[in-house]
């Protein structure tokens, strides 16, 4: 029997990026908040010691900071015709665990999506006609870029993002991204200093008439004190960044931006190493009464609360909804139901240029230090004569020269022996890589549900991921690969290799932890799980925050919009819900 604990105003499931933001906002509003986090306590001083943080084997290869599949795995298949099998090890994506969540070991590319992304269906049908979207389940978000602008701004100033504005109040700025939506003010910090590869990349792109700009980065270009009064330091380009915690207080994460203030509040409490098993519904099934969770010793507890916030990362938010009976599960055969609908990912490809006689020094790097070209991203370019919608950012962001995982050699090189040694020595310092990160648009057949066979250690069904790259996205990605070839040829290197995305998403090689959809926001309860305030249509005292809200994914990393949605939901709760608890939008 679960032991019942004293009631709280708010229970937050997961103390990562979004959980920390919401906890801060709602405690500021005077509420009594408890966050339940299944991983351990973590912060810079305790866990990211500068003396042994640079350990590729421990953190990047054995994945010490990540969620371990023994704790929670999921199953995958490419289509409903296949039998899903467990990802016995995480590879394609690497969910986080512990205080700070995946934001502990992220890279720090911090984007706003394009204004057109938020009204994608309206925008694309208006520009290209409805048939263009056939086979795709594209939708509007129900919230506009303009409505989110101040939330983006707050997240960027919380983090101390280093970048150059490309569009200030509608005026295009030299050196920034001319395709971005208008922002009200500059980034809090100037761009990072560029290493050699991105500098070459920008020259090559510019020579082709493109518009490279410094990637907006949560690796700080200088010292910074954020609006909460928390000080951060300059990034040292250590090259042990993504997959690692930052020992320099230079990468924005919950630890370096919020927790030092949040943890001192008397109306906040964090319970770590406690896993939420279920959101409990009241007898009428129309409100949540709290959550049940288990601690490290397997004791179970019931935490009653007036408000339940799901901040467990996109995939786990969806699983918890399915396990708790919140919202109707999506059925790909009928197209009905909403929870699990519009699961999307990211459609990527890479390019390499092999030189001779260079010192690229790939080890001087940071998670988000680089240059981006958005000329072929989103709807920045005319798709009129093309056979796809969507696009990709092209990024030259060398993140590391860590040699267990980074040893580029031209195709055809043997994998071992003397010839392998020769090529490895020759190309380690002589290779420039860049890549495309493409949009992922929803189709009827890509979705999330519960697995019928495989169970977790509590005997509950694992989440099942059914996903393959849609044909539209493959056409998009291959077209962008052709554009990457044009850029790569401009370097005058010795050899150029450009990859092409193919069907058959594999769970093995790392691609990106940018899993989106599954509990999407929208204006119609038939096609969305939460309304424009991220409030469950069915259980209005449950809010679901994360990239699971994205109706489809853009050719950009998700956390900028995720952070903005956290502020947006906090405002909805503070300014609307608390005044009049109940449905904020009538269906």
């Amino acid at each position: 029997m679960a032991r019942k604990l004293p009631r709280k105003d708010v229970v937050i499931v997961g103390l990562g990026w979004t959980g920390s933001i919401l906890a801060h906002e709602l405690t500021d509003a005077g509420l009594d908040v408890v966050a339940i986090e299944r991983g351990p306590w973590r912060d810079t001083a305790t866990d990211f010691n500068v003396a042994y943080a640079p350990d590729e084997l421990r953190y990047a290869v054995r994945k010490d900071l990540f969620l371990q599949p023994a704790q929670e795995a999921m199953t995958m298949r490419n289509s409903t015709a296949q039998t899903a099998l467990p990802m016995r090890d995480y590879g394609s994506f690497l969910p986080g665990t512990g205080v700070g969540g995946a934001g502990t070991h992220w890279n720090g590319h911090t984007w706003r999506f394009f204004p057109s992304d938020f009204a994608l269906k309206t925008h694309l049908t208006g520009r290209y006609g409805e048939e263009r979207l056939s086979g795709l389940q594209i939708q509007d978000w129900g919230v506009s870029y303009d409505e989110l602008e101040s939330a983006f701004d707050r997240f960027e100033y919380l983090c101390g993002i280093s970048g150059k504005a490309g569009n200030l109040n509608g005026t295009i700025q030299q050196g920034g991204n001319p395709f971005e939506g208008p922002r009200k003010r500059e980034y809090p910090l100037p761009p990072m200093q560029m290493t050699y590869a991105p500098t070459l990349f920008a020259e090559a792109a510019r020579s082709r008439g493109l518009h490279p700009f410094p990637t907006p980065s949560a690796n700080l270009s200088g010292a910074y004190v954020n609006p909460l009064g928390i000080a951060m330091g300059q990034c040292t380009a250590c090259g042990f960044c993504e997959r690692f915690g930052c020992a320099n207080y230079s990468k924005a994460s919950a630890h370096t931006t919020i927790l030092p203030v949040l943890m001192r509040k008397s109306n906040f409490e964090a319970r770590t190493e406690c896993e939420v098993l279920k959101i409990k519904l009241a007898a009428d099934g129309k409100t949540a009464s709290g959550v049940t969770y288990t601690d490290v010793n397997g004791a179970t507890f019931e935490q009653p609360a007036d408000l339940v916030l799901l901040n467990a990362y996109s995939l786990f938010n969806v699983r918890l909804m399915l396990l708790s009976g919140i919202g109707k599960p999506y059925d790909p055969s009928s197209g009905e139901g909403v929870v699990g609908r519009n699961y999307c990912y990211q459609t990527n490809a890479s390019a390499q240029v092999f030189f001779e006689g260079r010192s690229m020094n790939p080890f001087i790097a940071a998670g988000a230090l680089g240059q981006t070209v958005d000329d072929y991203n989103g709807d920045s370019f005319d798709h009129g004569a093309l056979n796809f919608v969507g696009g990709a950012g092209i990024n030259c962001i060398p993140t590391n020269g860590r040699p267990i995982q980074y040893r580029p050699v031209p195709p055809g090189t043997p994998r071992w022996g003397s010839a392998w040694k020769k090529a490895t020595k020759q190309y380690y310092n002589n290779t420039l890589a860049f890549s495309s990160q493409g949009s992922s648009y929803a189709t009827r057949g890509n979705y999330l549900d519960l697995d019928p066979t495989y169970k977790d250690r509590f005997g509950r069904p694992l989440l099942r991921v059914t996903f393959d790259f849609p044909d539209n996205d493959i056409r998009m990605s291959n077209w962008v690969s052709d554009r990457m070839k044009e850029i790569a040829d401009a370097f005058g290197g010795k050899q150029v290799v450009v990859g092409r995305q193919q069907k058959g998403w594999s769970s093995v090689p790392y691609q990106s932890t940018h899993n989106t959809g599954g509990a999407i926001m929208g204006t119609d309860p038939k096609t969305s799980a939460v309304n424009r305030h991220l409030q469950s249509w069915d259980v209005p005292n449950v809010f679901v925050v994360g990239a699971c809200a994205f109706p489809q994914n853009a050719g950009k990393n998700p956390t900028g919009p995720v952070g903005a949605l956290a502020y947006w939901a906090a405002d909805s709760i503070r300014n609307h819900y608390l005044k009049n608890p109940g449905k904020l939008v009538e269906a």
Binding site: L5, P86, K421
Partner: protein
């Protein structure tokens, strides 16, 4: 299945070192943090590599076989020492002795079914089991086809050919290619991981390609474009010349 937290010993220790708590909820056991940053001096957990000088998992024959393999995968030549001298076999042995070797952190519940390549490794075998099996198969294969000799008794050229056959799955052992890939992956880990884990002797793997190792501040060199990086590599344990006395 081990109990929920045994595979996170490191984390478990770190959290019990914090406030193990709970005033408000008698009987509840978890780390509960409120009103303060739960930080204690020296709470951070250093890596815990195993001491060298012995074999933990591999038998003497298995160890000799692994040493012979890693020396063909990374042969000694004018570019660097070979895999054996660099300690790759001892690195592998020590990895097998830890949570890696027993797949402790992985999802190991059945049913086990052969999957598609997109679904990753689906076997029930742990890395330790795969080594045990694969090394036996390797020596069985060479004894049967190459004059009764164990792998480590063969000439280098013969060893290379046997390894190529395993890599291509052209032997009478079904998991040959998977086993080869496992050994290749672990050998590269041993050659390029921080020397504290028993391989990469004297940072030979890092010197070989020019990786400066566990340095954490490159600010003075970010804009030194196309210039060779001037400093020698550094391990988590420092540089050999910093040490006094025995290792």
């Amino acid at each position: 299945m081990p109990p929920a937290t045994s595979f996170t010993r490191r984390r478990f220790l770190s959290s019990t070192g914090l406030l193990v708590l709970i005033a408000s909820v008698p009987g509840a056991r978890a780390a509960e943090h409120s009103g303060t940053l739960p930080w204690k001096p020296f709470a951070a957990l250093p890596p815990d590599p195993l001491p060298g000088g012995r074999w933990y998992v591999l038998t003497p024959d298995e160890a000799r076989t692994v040493e012979a393999i890693v020396d063909r995968l990374i042969p000694a030549d004018e570019l660097s020492i070979g895999g054996r001298e660099a300690g790759c076999a001892s690195f592998i042995d020590r990895q097998l002795a830890g949570s890696y070797g027993s797949s402790e952190r992985l999802y190991m519940q059945g049913p086990f079914t052969a999957g598609l390549p997109t679904q990753g490794y689906q076997g029930a075998e742990t890395p330790t089991g795969r080594y045990r099996d694969g090394l036996a198969a390797l020596n069985k294969h060479t004894r049967a086809t190459l004059g009764g000799k164990a792998f480590f008794e063969l000439a280098a050229a013969e060893q290379d050919q046997v390894l190529k056959d395993f890599e291509a799955g052209k032997v009478d052992y079904k998991p040959a290619a998977g086993f080869f890939n496992l050994v290749l992956q672990n050998t590269m880990e041993g050659f390029f991981a921080d020397p504290i884990y028993g391989g990469n002797k004297d940072m030979a793997g890092w010197k070989f390609i020019g990786f400066p190792g566990a340095r954490y501040d490159y600010r003075d060199y970010i804009t030194a474009h196309n210039k060779p990086f001037p400093l020698p590599p550094l391990s988590i344990a420092g540089r050999p010349e910093w040490k006094t006395g025995d290792k």
